[in-house]
């Protein structure tokens, strides 16, 4: 059983350089006409590998969010540190994640082994759970938290590349949506589980860590045991080199005389040249500009709390509300993005973000505007997070896909960090209401500009970079 054989996914398998906008009316080009209806029916289904990856993320998020939710309590109550010390931990977490993402993507592309790079990331995070069981003192805990975030940074881009490789390109948006829905469900369940445990066992920090370890082990186990070892670059090469001749094999089995270059179906090697592609640059630019206008949810919640005066302990419920909306809408909105164009959904989603800011700034206190703000925020995430990954994966050649996804996510994350820092200053300088209106107004200006940038086929793959499809 060679990797070469298993690397070719089934008929619903990977595709490279597919335009981001598909036309559902077209029969699938590479299938015999007689099977087109079956083929079309199959596009409606999400690959089982995507669902498995969703389950992996679900378990891992239960694990990490359960710990994240109780960590401040643990550091202050159990380790007897002050909350200032917790601030140190928090600051370390902010920086660690974003930067390793590109590296994780790059490693996945270079080795053409996204599963195993992702497994390293998931495994690293799982190991930190073991560490938490024995950690005493703040430096140890801080080190483990940073390691966990590094693990998350490593695994994200290869994992998304795996989703892209196992999804049907026609429902890429929906596939990412299904994955994000499961991921978000885990993020919502984790804290609830942790607080339920502390309720039953008041000093049950270790119990939470044990549960977290269990979930993390199952997540890694599901990845290692159930997810196929896809080789996206090799698969793309094999798909475009269908004849024995083009694969550099002898014309017939057993012939050895006229072998051209030997068997090296490695596909195009990794190259940073994708960063020079017009469409890629355009996407990164749009993601960066819109990211600069996306301030942290915490500010929206704080603004709602400031205005309505409810106690801060409802914060977790605001978070849960947003996540429930995100979870419910991720798959349907992803499907919508597959139909009407992912670029537009990504860009216009930011109008909803402006709407959420307006709800938080509007002088109408009460449950209605709060709920509206949460629904808008949740829908915004459904329209942007998975869609960005889907858009990026469809835009670049297979050989650089994980790196490109990691780059796009890092651009967004760094832009959002800058936005939150800047917004904090604006909040103090001009007040809560004005600050929110300013950002909402900036979004209302930026969105049409960005929509103009991605109009028509502007986010179609760069021909020069995706020649592998026509080879």
């Amino acid at each position: 059983m060679s990797g070469l054989v298993r690397a070719v996914p089934g008929e619903t398998g990977s595709q490279t350089g597919t335009p981001s906008r598909d036309r559902p009316g077209d029969p699938p080009g590479d299938r015999p006409p007689g099977r087109s209806s079956a083929g079309r029916r199959r596009t409606g289904r999400v690959s089982s590998t995507v669902v498995t990856l969703g389950v992996v993320s679900f378990l891992t998020d239960v694990s990490s969010e359960a710990v994240a939710a109780i960590l401040p309590l643990y550091v202050t109550a159990a380790l007897g540190m002050s909350i200032v010390a917790y601030g140190v931990v928090d600051g370390l977490v902010q920086g660690a994640g974003a930067l390793v993402r590109v590296a994780g993507g790059w490693a996945a592309d270079r080795t053409d082994r996204p599963k195993w790079v992702a497994a390293v990331g998931y495994g690293l995070s799982a190991l930190t759970r073991v560490g938490l069981l024995f950690a005493a003192g703040l430096p140890a805990v801080a080190g483990l938290v940073v390691t966990d975030r590094i693990g998350k940074g490593i695994r994200t881009a290869p994992r998304d590349a795996l989703i892209a490789a196992s999804a049907n390109p026609r429902n890429l948006g929906r596939s990412f949506g299904v994955h994000r829905a499961l991921d978000t469900a885990g993020a919502a369940l984790g804290p609830l589980l942790a607080f339920a445990v502390l309720w039953a066992v008041p000093d049950g920090w270790t119990t939470v860590f044990v549960i977290s370890l269990g979930a993390a082990v199952l997540g890694v186990g599901a990845l290692v045991l159930l997810v196929p070892d896809l080789r996206p670059r090799q698969a793309a090469w094999l798909r475009t080199h269908r004849t024995r001749e083009s694969r550099g094999l002898p014309k017939c089995k057993g012939c050895t005389c006229d072998a051209a270059g030997g068997l090296q179906p490695a596909g195009r090697p990794f190259s940073w040249a994708f960063l020079r592609g017009g469409a890629t640059v355009r996407l990164l630019l749009v993601a960066g500009v819109l990211g600069l206008l996306t301030v942290g949810d915490g500010f929206v919640y704080l603004a709602l709390q400031d205005r309505d005066g409810f106690a801060t302990h409802w914060f977790p419920l605001l978070f849960v509300g947003t996540n429930v909306v995100y979870m419910l809408l991720a798959a349907p909105v992803g499907r919508l993005a597959d139909r009407v164009g992912r670029g537009h959904v990504l860009v216009w989603g930011h109008v909803l973000l402006a709407g959420a800011y307006a709800c938080a700034a509007a002088p109408f206190p009460g449950a209605a505007t709060t709920l509206a703000a949460l629904v808008l925020l949740g829908t915004f995430y459904a329209m942007t997070d998975g869609v960005l990954a889907a858009l990026t994966s469809a835009l670049v050649p297979t050989s650089v896909r994980a790196t490109a996804i990691g780059t796009a996510q890092t651009v967004t994350a760094v832009a959002r960090m800058i936005a939150s820092a800047g917004f904090g200053v604006l909040w103090y300088a001009s007040g809560r209401v004005d600050a929110l209106w300013i950002v909402a107004a900036a979004l209302v200006v930026a969105v049409p500009v960005c929509a103009y940038l991605v109009r028509g086929g502007r986010l179609a793959p760069d021909d020069a970079l995706t020649r592998e499809t026509s080879a």
């Binding site: 270790t206 915490g298 919640y301 801060t312």
Partner: protein, 343 residues
């Protein structure tokens, strides 16, 4: 072959799920049983009556068992002696004998925090919600209540570390709002660092108080004198946290971050500031890091809580001479948040 391998992998995963579920389930059940048993177990402390009638120290009891977290009192002349246990459950407590302020946590799937004002019969006469983990509380001589809580923690509130310190009337009415909104004057000039935080109020009278203002971006931790009428905070000295006024009103005990340069975590050493001369005496007879708002037992002795290294949930209240002339000793075992009621 491939089908075989897939089956083998699925079986392996099923076994893994079984092992993890059984293992975790067993551990969780055992822990819940242990917690139930511990909470129901009798607390091993000597209990008495009548302590509250005389001069005493009120505190949160931290001896494990059924009385864990209950407010208790020991006689001022017998700190390590038997304690009278009250019905109140508090994280932080401050009392003047008649009125007690109690900050507490209501654990649940959504954990909430509350400040309560209790009368002599431990009935709640006023209460208001706190935005986060209770940290400090102090009363003024005539019934103002300062509370500090941490507004972080929630990984959801991604705005970083923050405290909220407010002053209320004992009847629950707001007096100050968030002290961060007071005008901060450094050498007479108004500054407003975005990340300023205020905590650890100690009252001089009904209008003037001392507190800590920290800005991590400016790398300053100031002692400030606050004025509730003018709504100002005037900086006095850098490097002072959690001040506490001595009973005679001449000195402030505080914790001072004496970490080695470049160290990631703070090491707080107790210190005393003479308000007349502004001279600081660092009490390095205490070699451990103290994270508490220090209390004065009398004009010569400081009290503060320290967690036990081997039993983190249990703390002791330690005593240290205010001139640093002797080593710290345990004053009240299995106690936290002492409040001296001189009667």
């Amino acid at each position: 072959m491939s089908g075989h391998a897939a089956l083998r992998r699925r079986t392996a995963f099923a076994v893994l799920v079984l092992v993890v579920l059984v293992g975790t389930g067993w551990y969780v059940t055992a822990e819940i049983r242990r917690a139930r048993a511990e909470q129901a177990a009798p607390t091993q402390v000597e209990v008495t009556e009548g302590v509250l009638d005389g001069p005493h120290v009120l505190f949160r009891g931290t001896a494990p068992g059924e009385l864990y977290g209950r407010v208790a009192a020991v006689a001022l002349d017998d700190l390590s002696g038997p304690r009278q246990v009250t019905p109140a459950v508090c994280d932080r407590v401050d009392s003047d004998g008649a009125t007690t302020v109690c900050l507490r946590t209501h654990r649940g799937v959504v954990t909430t925090y509350e400040a309560q004002v209790l009368d002599a019969a431990w009935r709640t006469t006023a209460s208001w919600p706190l935005p986060g983990l209770p940290s400090r509380t102090q009363q003024s001589p005539d019934g103002l209540v300062a509370t500090t809580s941490f507004v972080t923690g929630h990984s959801y509130a991604t705005t970083g570390f923050s405290t909220e310190t407010t002053v209320h009337d004992a009847d629950g009415a707001e007096v100050s709002g968030n002290l961060e909104d007071f005008t901060l004057l450094v050498d007479g000039k108004r500054v407003a660092p975005v990340d300023r935080n205020v905590w650890g109020v100690t009252f001089a009278d009904e209008r003037v108080f001392y507190a800590t203002v920290q800005s991590q971006s400016l790398d300053r931790t100031w002692l400030v004198r606050g004025d509730l009428a003018e709504r100002t905070l005037v900086t006095l000295l850098d490097g002072v946290e959690c001040p506490s006024l001595s009973p005679d009103g001449t000195r402030l005990a505080f914790k001072h971050d004496a970490r080695a340069p470049g160290a990631a975590t703070p090491r707080w050493t107790p210190a005393v500031l003479d308000l007349a001369t502004m001279a600081v005496t660092v009490l390095d007879a205490e070699e451990r890091s103290v994270d508490d708002q220090i209390t004065w037992l009398d004009d010569a002795t400081l009290l503060y809580g320290m967690p036990r290294t081997d039993e983190p949930a249990t703390t002791d209240v330690w005593a240290l001479p205010a001139d640093g002339a002797a080593d710290p000793v345990v004053a009240i075992p299995q106690a936290w948040s002492p409040s001296v009621v001189r009667g």
